[in-house]
């Protein structure tokens, strides 16, 4: 009960509702940073955020519908890497384009020194971040608890709200 006990640690409550590779980062980055500062953290994974709890992470990214995404290459000379390629929208819809874009984004993150989602998720577990899967989303999309990592817990809206009621920071991502 964070607010009623002044000596209690600060609390961060987040909802992760998007499971693409790009949107998987913010909740895990904030959760690990807050956990590192000694805060109590819970992430409630719902709708398309739920697969981020799966043992086998398949988070991918699509440039289609993401017009602000920089289209840059993670290899080659510096000048080449700075080029923001004007990819036609029709080409983004081509089969295989998403997996190419996903591979390039992962390569870029790795070369810049950004942790993978798997690594951040492990760090979150080590820092006692509560990872809650949404039971309703599990029922709707056909997930079982066994699909998720061992440390995942299951809950519903009331579970999240009870924790969030005493949170100092609440975010919907």
């Amino acid at each position: 009960m964070s607010k009623s006990d002044p000596s209690a640690p600060k609390r961060l409550a987040m909802i992760s509702s998007k499971g693409t590779l790009d949107w998987a980062y913010p909740p895990f980055i904030l959760a690990t940073a807050a956990g590192a500062m000694g805060w109590e953290v819970q992430i409630f994974f719902t709708f398309y955020g739920l697969p981020l709890l799966c043992r086998d992470l398949k988070a991918a990214v699509s440039p289609l519908g993401n017009p602000a995404m920089p289209m840059k290459m993670p290899f080659g000379p510096e000048g080449f890497q700075k080029i923001n390629w004007p990819i036609p929208t029709a080409l983004m819809a081509a089969p295989g384009f998403n997996s190419v874009a996903t591979g390039l984004m992962k390569k870029t993150f790795q070369s810049k020194g950004v942790a993978t989602i798997e690594e951040l998720r492990e760090m979150a577990v080590d820092l006692d971040v509560g990872l809650i899967g949404c039971q309703m989303t599990m029922d709707v999309f056909g997930f079982k608890k066994e699909d998720f990592i061992e440390d995942a817990m299951i809950g519903g809206a009331a579970t999240f709200l009870e924790f969030a009621a005493d949170a100092d920071v609440s975010l919907f991502i």
Partner: protein
Amino acid sequence: MSEIQADSVLDCSGMLCPLPVVKTTKAIKQMEVGQVLKMIATDPGAPPDMQAWSRQTGNELLEHYEEDGKFIFFIKRVK
């Protein structure tokens, strides 16, 4: 250059947010209260982040400076 003697050194060169903060926390937890950790980072976001981390955790940031493109931090475990 610093006169401070570190009990342990953590090199976070090449790592981006939130890794320096997370790895510093892990390293500090393995030390005794009163001991000093020297942390080295190249992420330009590390100086403001480490100051915030210090205020939030209560562990003391004794000194920090930039040297040859690296950010050096001396952190004392307080609790």
